[in-house]
Structure formats: structure tokens, C-alpha cells
């Protein structure tokens, strides 16, 4: 019964609240005090530097079969977690599109990435073809950045920034003595990302016939370290942007 009484009281409050509020607003409000004269903004609040790491494939979509015991979806998830940890240790805010072996549609990946408003988006892939690391940016041509962008070609507004980000990765990987191939491609969800975005595709290291497999932990360490160094450099460049 007490509960009912409380409900009655609450109902009365809800009924009377708009009336009381209306009563308060009925007389014309006093004019607000004049705002102080505008001061030049000295301290500019910069948005948070965030990075999105997208481990490709997952669930029934296993991607490429890299060896008898290694699938692309598993390797990129491992590297995604390691890269997230490395960047997190340097105080960089990281969002990942998947943390387990589950299927995540391209639409959801792009939604997650675009929601963050990230300064860099990295989508991780792996293949058995070629050597070293392949860096791909979207093949879309640059379009003006507007409030509304077509979903499937939104990356076009970031084409030039993505090329600069790719160049940052190229420098870091080359410094780590990992061969790099640069390219442009049509790839989902890369084409829908509204952030500077690069697809990083790992392949076995083949130098003068000596092949280092993707499963090699030392090779993975070098790649993760180089990618983290590139992101840190990108962060420094990003802070200097007007």
C-alpha cells in the first residue's frame, strides 16, 4: 500500500510539474545579464587523438589460409591486440572493431570507426603473396569534406590524408628494414571510413630467397613496433596541424 501511496505522490508531482513550470515561465523572464566581451581564445581544446584498429575477417569468414595451422583472421586478431596494447602503453586511445573470433559486417566496422572520429584507422590483413608489408589506401579520388558524405565512398574526403598516413607507415617500416609495397585498392570497409585510413597487409618476408613466415614472433614484433612508431609520429604531426 505504501508503494501505491508513493506512486500517487509521484503521479501528482508529474502532473503538477508542468503546471508549476508553466507558472514560473508565465511572467516574462528578466533580461539575461550582458555577456562579457569576447576574449581571444588562447587555449584551444584539441580533440582526443584516437586510433581505430580493424582486424579483418572473423567468424566463418576466415580470410586467407596462411599455413596449415594459421588463418588470416586469427593472425590479424593477434596483431590487433598486440598493437592496441603497445599503443595503449604509450597513452594513445585505441578502439578495435573486434576482440574475438566473431563475424563483424563491414557496415558495423565502418560505423564503429566513424563514431570515434579517429585520427587514424588501420585495417589489418595478411596474405601469402608477395613479400614484407603491403600498404593500401583507397582508390577513391579526393572529394571535398562536407557534412554529409555518401557512405560507400566517404573515404574520398580523406584520400590525401590517408596517403600521408600511408607515407608515415612506409617510412617506419622501411626504417625497420621491412620491404614495403604501396598501392591503392577498392576495399570495404576502408572506402567507408571517415578518417585517414590505411589497409596494412602482412606477407611473409622474402629476402634473397630466405623466407620468414608470418608466424615468426620476431617478425611480428618488428611489424608491430614499426606500426606503433608510425602512429606515434602521426600523433606528433597531428598535434602540429592547424
Amino acid at each position: 500500500m505504501r508503494w501505491i501511496e508513493e506512486r500517487r505522490c509521484l503521479a501528482m508531482v508529474f502532473i503538477l510539474a508542468p503546471v508549476l513550470a508553466g507558472a514560473q515561465t508565465t511572467p516574462p523572464p528578466p533580461p539575461p545579464p550582458a555577456p562579457p566581451p569576447a576574449q581571444p581564445s588562447v587555449l584551444k581544446t584539441s580533440p582526443r587523438f584516437g586510433v581505430v584498429i580493424d582486424a579483418a575477417h572473423g567468424g566463418t569468414d576466415s580470410g586467407a589460409r596462411l599455413s596449415d595451422h594459421l588463418l588470416e583472421k586469427d593472425l590479424v586478431l593477434t596483431l590487433s591486440v598486440r598493437l592496441r596494447s603497445t599503443l595503449g602503453a604509450h597513452g594513445i586511445y585505441v578502439v578495435t572493431t573486434r576482440e574475438s573470433d566473431g563475424a563483424v559486417p563491414a557496415l558495423n566496422r565502418a560505423e564503429a570507426a566513424n563514431h570515434v572520429g579517429a585520427a587514424a584507422c588501420i585495417t589489418l590483413h595478411a596474405t601469402t603473396s608477395g613479400t614484407g608489408v603491403h600498404l593500401f589506401t583507397s582508390s577513391l579520388t579526393q572529394i571535398p569534406l562536407t557534412r554529409f558524405l555518401p557512405w560507400e565512398t566517404a573515404q574520398g574526403a580523406y584520400a590525401e590524408q590517408s596517403l600521408r598516413l600511408s607515407s608515415e607507415f612506409d617510412s617506419a617500416l622501411t626504417h625497420a628494414e621491412i620491404p614495403v609495397t604501396l598501392g591503392r585498392t577498392a576495399l570495404q570497409p576502408l572506402d567507408s571510413f571517415t578518417c585517414p585510413a590505411v589497409a596494412v597487409e602482412l606477407s611473409p618476408l622474402n629476402i634473397s630467397g630466405k623466407v620468414t613466415a608470418l608466424s615468426d614472433p620476431e617478425y611480428q614484433d618488428r611489424i608491430v613496433a614499426a606500426l606503433a612508431a608510425a602512429v606515434e609520429q602521426w600523433q606528433r604531426d597531428w598535434r602540429q596541424q592547424p
Binding site: 575477417h57 586467407a64 590483413h125 608477395g130 582508390s139 604501396l182 577498392a186 597487409e201
Partner: protein, 204 residues
């Protein structure tokens, strides 16, 4: 007076003649069916009586992500669609060779290529010809998975078509007549590719 035995012999011969005629007609029909079937299943061989001509192929290399032009001397049919089909079949055949720098296992290759004159839509701004490349499911199944190998294959096809058919302005890809999301899990097959997307001899 004709004897009864002669009459029986006459009718027996007549019946057997009719039966033999029916059997021969049926055998002839079967022979014709076999001939037509074998003609349809024969590999595309347009070289009979046609002079060979130089064809430019844009050959992909996985190790450095490049496309390099290579010239081949091929006898080609007169029809544009058939000519493009033969050129792409030779390109894919090259990738199935043991020493290929962009290996793709042996497969059926391309089902066919169809040219359409643009613009189909009056509001469309790109003039020229659109080529629809119908890849076979066996080609897609045999293709290595990865952004680089898939992108190189598409650019190799685009570059080869553009080199030999400059009127082609854009290319669409189908797989066994149906639209498909990706070639082998990566490169987008739903979009329309511009023939000039291929970077030629430059890196990707």
C-alpha cells in the same frame, strides 16, 4: 501366278527396308547432335586463317606489386567480344604457368566479355564502351586470397583491356553471370572500375 512363299518374301523385304530406313535416319540425327556438341565444346580457336597480330598484356608481379607490359603475337577473331575473350584467356593462362610471378592455379578463366556502348543513361557523363567481364567460378575459387594479389589481377585485366581496346572506358566484373562482393575475400567486385584505374607500368 505368284506363289505364297514369294509374297511372304516380298513383304518381309519391304518391312526390313522400312526398318532400316528408320534406323539410318535416327543414326544420322544422332551423328549430327554429336557433331554440334563437339563444335560447341571446342576451345576458342580463332586462329584458323587469321593473321597473327601483336597484343599487349599487362603482367602482374606479386613481389614488387608492379604491372609490366608484355607483347604476344596472337591470331585473333574479328568480333571484338571474342577478341577480348581470347586475349584475357591467354593472360590468365600465363598466370597458370609454373614460373608465373603472379600465380593462379589452372582454371576455366573468363566465361565471356561483353561490350556495351555508353552512355546507357542520358545523365551518364562517361562516354565510351563498358566491358562486362564474366569470370568463371573456377577462376575465383583458384585465386589466392589477399588485397595485393586480388588487386593486381583486376588491374592486370583492366590494363590489358585498356591497352588493346582504348574505347573501353569502364569495366564491371561478374562471376558466372552474377554480381559478387569480392574476388577472393578482399578486392571489391561490386563497383565499376574505370579503365584508366590501371597504373600501367608504375607500381600499384
Amino acid at each position: 501366278m505368284i506363289s505364297r512363299g514369294q509374297r511372304i518374301l516380298f513383304w518381309a523385304l519391304l518391312v526390313s527396308s522400312v526398318v532400316m530406313a528408320v534406323v539410318l535416319l535416327r543414326m544420322r540425327e544422332r551423328a549430327m547432335d554429336r557433331l554440334l556438341a563437339s563444335a560447341e565444346s571446342m576451345p576458342l580457336n580463332p586462329s584458323a586463317g587469321r593473321p597473327a597480330q601483336n597484343v599487349t598484356m599487362m603482367i602482374a608481379n606479386d613481389m614488387d606489386g608492379s604491372l609490366q607490359p608484355a607483347t604476344q603475337n596472337l591470331a585473333l577473331p574479328v568480333d571484338g567480344n571474342a577478341r577480348a575473350h581470347v586475349i584475357l584467356q591467354h593472360l590468365i593462362l600465363d598466370y597458370a604457368r609454373p614460373n608465373s610471378k603472379h600465380p593462379i592455379a589452372a582454371n576455366k578463366g573468363v566465361n565471356g566479355i561483353f561490350f556495351m556502348t555508353l552512355p546507357l543513361d542520358p545523365n551518364q557523363v562517361i562516354p565510351g564502351t563498358e566491358a562486362i567481364v564474366d569470370l568463371s567460378a573456377s577462376f575465383v575459387a583458384a585465386h589466392p586470397s589477399g588485397i595485393e594479389p586480388e588487386t593486381l589481377t583486376l588491374l592486370s585485366i583492366l590494363g590489358t583491356l585498356h591497352a588493346n581496346f582504348p574505347q573501353i572506358s569502364q569495366v564491371r566484373f561478374l562471376v558466372d553471370g552474377q554480381q559478387r562482393d569480392t574476388l577472393a575475400g578482399h578486392a571489391d567486385l561490386t563497383r565499376v572500375y574505370l579503365a584508366t584505374d590501371s597504373p600501367g607500368v608504375k607500381h600499384l
